[in-house]
């Protein structure tokens, strides 16, 4: 034994091993491997002689690690994420509901996951059958006449839907010039109209946050191609005069486009096709439970009325006289393709599994529970937070930070503080028609107990905003990282890792752009 007294381990002390995980490149060492290829059963080739000048010799800083290191790397990263499986996302307009695991299982069945989009139709009856059954279900749910599953996401669905409207008007001799968009709309709506070659005309909301009928009547003319309307609106309220809105548009030959982002409030209770909508998109990753996966993949089917059917993207799934399914490319009036192949097929599988798990009674109960949850939160919090629009809420409720802002506590601060209470933030500062918006959509996936925890947390935060505003303004406090410097991130973009010239690991900044503005 040495007589030196033990003073402790020299190892860097951390609260948890997961607090420290370098970038994969910083963990890499030359010569490590996590793969072994199958034995080559054909003669080996010399790439340099086959490819000549086109041959590549080096793959730069691509990582080299063993399998256990890779598992630990990504598992550790995963512990830094919040997720539905951990708790509630009260994110308004995002519909963060439970993602059933059976959906994942069936999407990985061999005949489904390995299906090649060009395999013969005779060997694709199962995948086409999935597309057909999902299409039939979605047509019934929306009350529309027909559908395309091709769009890859909601905004892509908007693009497709507005192109359908454009093709329809063009076929009548005039594509028209403008698309009307309420000021409460999501930013994708005006961006979509612009990408489709339309001018955007902003439609002001009335005092209730709804479409102003008189203003609409004034604005709709023979140059109006469509109105893009979210229903229920982004404040979670049903446009009760929806049919009047449709009539005003139709009288001038314009179409009613419905952004189906909030369809979780309507399924089984009312159908857009019945209340005058001509074309709409759905978000399978919202209403139909396909996972958000940290930002995608989405899937944005577009349902429409008969008058728009000739213009649907090609191909469309059709039933042959002998009962077999086929892809029909002979669509002379089609807007063309909006995506290669047939869409985000893997999401169709999951959405259909969700519909089967629910059935008609389950879907109706789902909608009712989503609306019940939102109204419960509203009832419990309307004394605590300012409610700008008092109309009856459906699936989400939008409070304002007006009372707390007097103490310098903004919606964004309270959203961040919610993280300390074990929740994701609600949707912050959207829609813009509500000052300091706090947009809460609980979905049907939350139990009463979970809702009560959220309500308690928000009440507590409102109290903190009164008594200790700084605590809220500097939140979150319980996370691995504190608030991040987003301004510097935008002004001096560092968008990839690079080894430092001296061999030490460091990221590499691009040329600073001091003119860059961040919100």
């Amino acid at each position: 034994m040495s007589d030196t007294k033990f003073v402790g381990t020299p190892r860097k002390v951390t609260t948890h091993v997961n607090q420290n995980e370098d970038l994969i490149f910083e963990k890499s060492s030359a010569g490590k491997k996590a793969y072994r290829l199958a034995e080559l059963d054909v003669p080996a080739v010399d790439a340099a002689s086959l490819l000549g000048d086109a041959a590549r010799t080096d793959l730069g800083v691509m990582p080299e690690l063993s399998e256990i290191e890779i598992v630990r790397h990504f598992t550790r990263l995963s512990t830094w994420n919040y997720a539905i499986d951990l708790g509630m996302y009260p994110l308004g307009s995002c519909t963060m509901k439970y993602n059933p695991r059976v959906n994942e299982l069936v999407s990985r069945l061999e005949g489904i996951a390995e299906a090649h989009p060009y395999q013969p139709e005779s060997l694709s009856q199962g995948v086409l059958g999935i597309m057909k059954l999902l299409s039939d279900c979605l047509v019934e749910i929306t009350g529309m006449d027909t559908i395309t599953l091709q769009p890859a996401a909601g905004a892509h669905g908007e693009f497709t839907g507005i192109l359908l409207a454009r093709a329809y008007h063009e076929a009548k001799g005039n594509p028209r010039k403008k698309v009307l968009i309420p000021d409460s709309a999501h930013g994708t709506n005006p961006a979509t109209a612009a990408v489709c070659g339309y001018q955007v005309a902003n439609l002001k909301s009335n005092a209730q946050g709804m479409v102003d009928i008189a203003e609409l009547e004034r604005m709709v003319d023979e140059d109006t191609a469509a109105l893009m309307l979210t229903n229920p609106s982004t404040i979670g309220v049903f446009e009760s005069e929806i049919h009047k809105i449709a009539d005003i548009l139709h009288a001038k030959g314009a179409l009613l486009y419905m952004d189906g982002a909030n369809m979780n409030a309507l399924v089984g209770k009312t159908r857009p096709g019945d209340f005058g909508v001509d074309v709409m998109h759905l978000n399978l990753h919202k209403t139909f439970s396909t996972p958000h996966g940290g930002g995608g993949p989405g899937s944005g089917p577009v349902a429409c009325k008969k008058i728009l059917e000739p213009f649907l993207p090609k191909p469309v799934v059709v039933t042959r006289p002998d009962g077999t399914l086929a892809l029909d490319y002979d669509r002379p009036q089609s807007i063309g393709r909006v995506r290669m192949f047939y869409g985000n097929f893997g999401m169709f599988v999951r959405a259909l599994a969700y519909i089967l798990a629910n059935g008609p009674d389950g879907l109706r109960q789902t909608t009712e529970d989503a609306v019940l949850n939102a109204n419960y939160i509203r009832a419990k919090l309307e004394d605590t937070f300012d409610l700008q629009y008092k109309t009856r809420s459906l699936h989400e409720v939008v409070f304002s930070d007006r009372r707390q802002a007097k103490n310098g506590v903004k919606t964004g601060d309270m959203g961040k503080r919610l993280i300390d209470y074990g929740f994701h933030a609600y949707t912050v500062s959207f829609p813009m028609v509500v000052q300091g918006a706090m947009m809460i959509e609980p979905t049907e996936s939350e139990s009463r107990e979970e809702l009560d925890l959220l309500i308690d947390a928000l009440k507590q935060i409102a109290r903190e905003a009164e008594e200790n505003p700084e605590l809220v303004q500097t939140a979150p406090h319980a996370t691995r990282l504190r608030r991040l410097d987003e301004t510097t991130a935008a002004r001096k973009p560092v968008l990839r890792w690079k080894p430092a010239p001296n061999g030490a690991a460091d990221s590499s900044a691009l040329t600073p752009d001091t003119a860059a503005k961040e919100w």
């Binding site: 529970d369 979970e450 991130a489």
Partner: protein, 441 residues
């Protein structure tokens, strides 16, 4: 309903707390004539085992147990087990877009790693955090080139995947971007003289694909020189990402639009896949899609955030660079795991195996038919004229449980009815190739 966490008593109590008599009161803003009173005419509620049975039935009606020589933009490669291990974690699968970076560092750091790998593989300086897919990525790249150059036309090689060209045409039509096609030469590469003639003062960009739709590797440097001489940008679309393991990256390009499906993503009847745009740094503020950047938190610790969102629709509305909102985060995560498993050496070895299999297949089938476009190097696909109608050949092959190459007459009538596009990957066995040759004799 098993996904709903409420007892009947919970519902009653909550209605009482809200102060309404029944659930219907909460839907009273929907006019009575539009309230849907019957059951939806959709299949009844299924038990979990019934759902699995039903999808097994669907799965069994598809091609299983066939040897397939299909490629053409969707490639069958081995997918390491770790991919599903990682993306099946609820923390990745069920998380939202990382707008709250303090509780999304897992996704954000992985996306930063993804962007770095894409830059390294493509030879570009920056990359976004993914796009819908390669076809829409190509269309977005063209719109980006139009914004960068202030010109409004695009020249597209006929050797770009036909479905990519169709998607580009849909987008271009409404952006009023005139498209001109540049044909191919006997080598299967872009006809350089025709390309040169097609570019004029109004051409914003040239779009090529390499390896191209025929599997041939384009002379990117020569094409870049022609485009740049006339002030046009070069966009290189890559549909087979594995090629980057052994094919020189298109560093002369200005924008690369990659489809990363080959990096561990199932064919899944055509999607979801993973597009991504990479480009020169100077075009950063015209690049569409989400981007992750490095920064520090209040205590100076390294962290990552979504950045440069002033380009995006939720800030700029109709003036945004694109209407794109979601990306393919989870699929990008799959590709990141794939690239980490294979890594620097594995990706190269894998690509060489693909070369070897395709060479053996081309040599073997070349003894029966005539392989076209022999004047330039190719990766793992080749066009062959088997001397008989390609559709009829394929129908006969199905009897032997073989799915033959893709008949090309539908898109390239000039090649005749007998031409088809064959693909061999590391998963194609010698026995399968020999069996196909035997059946074709």
């Amino acid at each position: 309903m098993r996904y709903l966490p409420k007892s009947p008593a919970d519902r009653e109590e909550m209605l009482a707390e809200i102060g309404v008599a029944s659930i219907d009161d909460l839907f009273s803003t929907i006019p009575a004539e539009y309230q849907f009173k019957r059951d939806l005419a959709i299949p009844r509620q299924h038990g979990e085992s019934e759902i699995i049975d039903r999808f097994r039935e669907f799965a069994n009606q598809n091609a299983t147990g066939y040897a397939s020589f299909l490629g053409a933009g969707v490639y069958r490669h081995y997918r390491p087990v770790l991919i599903d291990t990682v993306v099946s974690r609820g923390e990745f699968l069920t998380s939202y877009t990382p707008y709250q970076p303090e509780i999304a560092q897992g996704t954000l750091q992985a996306m930063f790693e993804f962007q770095t790998m894409i830059c390294e593989l493509t030879g570009m300086e920056i990359a976004n955090a993914s796009m819908y897919d390669g076809s829409t990525g190509a269309a977005e790249a063209i719109m980006m080139a139009v914004r960068v150059t202030g010109r409004d036309g695009a020249v597209i090689a006929r050797t770009v995947h036909p479905e990519y060209r169709e998607v580009v045409a849909t987008y271009a039509q409404h952006q009023e971007i005139p498209l001109v096609e540049a044909g191919y030469s006997e080598s299967g590469r872009v006809d350089l003289a025709a390309l040169d003639a097609a570019i004029d003062d109004n051409t914003a960009c040239v779009l090529i694909q390499s390896p191209n739709f025929f599997g041939t590797i384009e002379d990117v440097a020569a094409i870049a020189e022609i485009a740049h001489k006339k002030g046009a940008l070069l966009i290189v679309s890559i549909a087979e990402a594995i090629s980057l393991g052994i094919v020189r990256p298109p560093a002369e390009a200005d924008i690369v639009s990659l489809e990363a499906q080959s990096f561990g993503v199932a064919p899944s009847y055509g999607g979801p896949f993973c597009g991504v745009i990479a480009c020169k740094e100077k075009f950063l503020r015209q690049m569409p899609g989400r981007i992750v950047g490095e920064t520090k938190d209040m205590d100076g610790k390294r962290g990552f955030v979504l950045t440069l969102s002033t380009r995006e629709q939720h800030i700029r509305r109709e003036k945004a660079t694109s209407n794109i909102c979601t990306n393919q985060a989870l699929v990008a995560m799959m590709t990141t795991v794939f690239l980490t498993v294979y890594g620097k050496e594995g990706l190269k070895e894998l690509a060489v195996h693909n070369l070897a299999k395709a060479k053996y297949a081309a040599d073997t089938l070349g003894g029966i038919g005539k392989v076209l476009f022999n004047g330039a190097p190719r990766f793992h696909e080749f066009v062959i004229d088997l001397g008989k109608d390609a559709e009829a050949v394929n129908t006969a092959l199905l009897e032997r449980k073989i799915i033959g190459g893709l008949p090309l007459a539908r898109w390239y009538p000039e090649l005749g009815a007998n031409a088809s596009l064959w693909c061999a990957t590391e998963l194609t066995t010698k026995a399968q190739i020999d069996a196909a040759a035997e059946a074709l004799k």
